[in-house]
Symmetry: C2
Subunit: 285 residues, 2 copies
């Protein structure tokens, strides 16, 4: 069956109705395009959980706190469509901004405590934009399952919360971060990195491993584990840290006493490129 | 067929799926209970537009800016259920607060410009509460049509906007205000009024009629029409005015030059009871 391409929310909703009433399960993989092997892993997980796998590509303007970042964000539609075809995606949803934000749009979805710290503090309005567009995508596609990468850990926590709070009948599945052989987490933003910046970017995963190593050696104090990660990344003066924290896996708040489920989480700039990464302390990668 | 009573969002969503896939149209009438003839008129309109009429009863705590107002709000469930049966409602949805706001709920829906003036200015957080609960009810019931009274005019404008913005596949229908023979708009809050307050409450509709009369006599200046209404209600010292305005029917902003579609809109307290009313200038009632 040829891959469908859908541009309007009305067409998507009609297809969702038909598939649901035919008893078929729909899985949605929301993306901003610039697809890489991390996205392909989401599609594989989606395939295991549904009869139809849909992938959306929409560079959502409202989640960018910096207009230059939005303008520069990689857009690789033809390559993305080829990747989707190869990965066995059944339908790709490629709305324009007017489909997602009708003229005069002024409604936003806001998640409170969970969205406040970390990336929420560093990027004002970012999670409001994420929560708003994800709500719209879930309303438009009406999937049974939606798959998001754990690389965006706080985003995943925010989405799980809004789905529950807004009574959206969809199961949210988190997919493990895919890494390069040397540990760098795959990200569409890695395409910005030149060779030198690419080497510096390893400072993020190294800081997480430093915290996980301290945890494995018996350290349980949250502030001491945070200091391990922070001092690891501080050894790279070319990397500008937004935050390094050890947080509770659900509430996203700094932990006093770490457990194997606690998460090391880091955001930093390498040149102009902002990167994020995270690691469950009891499951170092 | 006996009227169904549904208490959980899961059961409601399952029923919505079954009805939709059977090709039946669902109309939802969201209410806070304390049903009166105004609500019955909404049910009649719903019946004309759908195969199944569902009515929800939920006194939504997040839309009350005053906890005493919430505590005092009339709750008349048995009478409401009898009214629903008589009116031919197919299913009544009576969730408790834990169904609508799962433990730890922290997600809200916010409509921006439209919700800012008038009742939005007078009741901080009110429309955030309305927008949040209406979004949840529409997500849970998945109706084809939802019917709201025009008596809550700004609320209706806010709901039309959020439905469009969040891509909810539902048609919003406004229903004309039902009035007592002397013109008082029906409201669940009228049950608070004693005989004297009941007489004073007519000041609201009289102020709207004063503005509509001036419009009929050729006055088109928004500020002059507003002054007509405001001076009419100011003649009642026992009535404390929140606002009187002549606004655009869609944007809810004061008009400079009124048209037949412009809306007079008023909120005032009679004793402790806050009442609202509105009237389209070209269609006085």
């Amino acid at each position: 069956m040829a891959m469908e391409r859908i541009d309007t929310t009305a067409a998507l909703q009609a297809l969702a109705h038909a598939e649901r009433c035919a008893g078929r399960r729909i899985a949605l993989v929301p993306t901003m395009g610039a697809l890489h092997a991390g996205h392909v892993s989401l599609v594989k997980i989606a395939r295991e959980r549904a009869d139809r796998v849909w992938l959306s590509i929409f560079v959502n303007p409202t989640q960018f706190d910096d207009p230059r970042d939005l303008a520069a964000y990689p857009r690789t539609l033809e390559a993305d469509l080829a990747i989707c075809r190869d990965a066995g995606v059944d339908a790709v949803f490629t709305p324009d901004a007017a489909q997602m934000y009708p003229a005069g749009a002024q409604t936003s979805v806001e998640v409170d405590e969970l969205a406040a710290p970390l990336c929420g503090a560093a990027r004002p309005g970012h999670f409001r934009g994420v929560a708003t567009v994800v709500t719209k995508l879930l309303v438009a596609a009406q999937p049974h399952v939606a798959v998001f990468g754990e690389k965006d850990y706080q985003q995943l926590a925010v989405i799980r919360r809004l789905v529950r709070d807004l009574l959206l009948p969809v199961e949210i599945v988190g997919a493990p971060t895919v890494r390069e052989p040397d540990g760098l987490a795959l990200s569409s933003r890695n395409s910005y990195l030149d060779k030198s910046a690419r080497a510096s970017a390893l400072a993020l995963v190294e800081s997480l491993r430093a915290a996980a190593r301290a945890f494995a050696q018996g350290e349980r104090r949250g502030d001491a584990l945070t200091a391990e990660g922070a001092s690891s990344i501080a050894a790279h003066p070319e990397v500008s840290v937004d935050y390094f924290a050890v947080v509770d896996a659900v509430a996203m708040q700094p932990v006093v006493d770490a457990t194997p489920e606690s998460v090391g989480i880091v955001a930093a700039r390498v040149g102009k490129t902002r990167l994020i990464d995270n690691m469950v302390l009891g499951q170092p990668e």
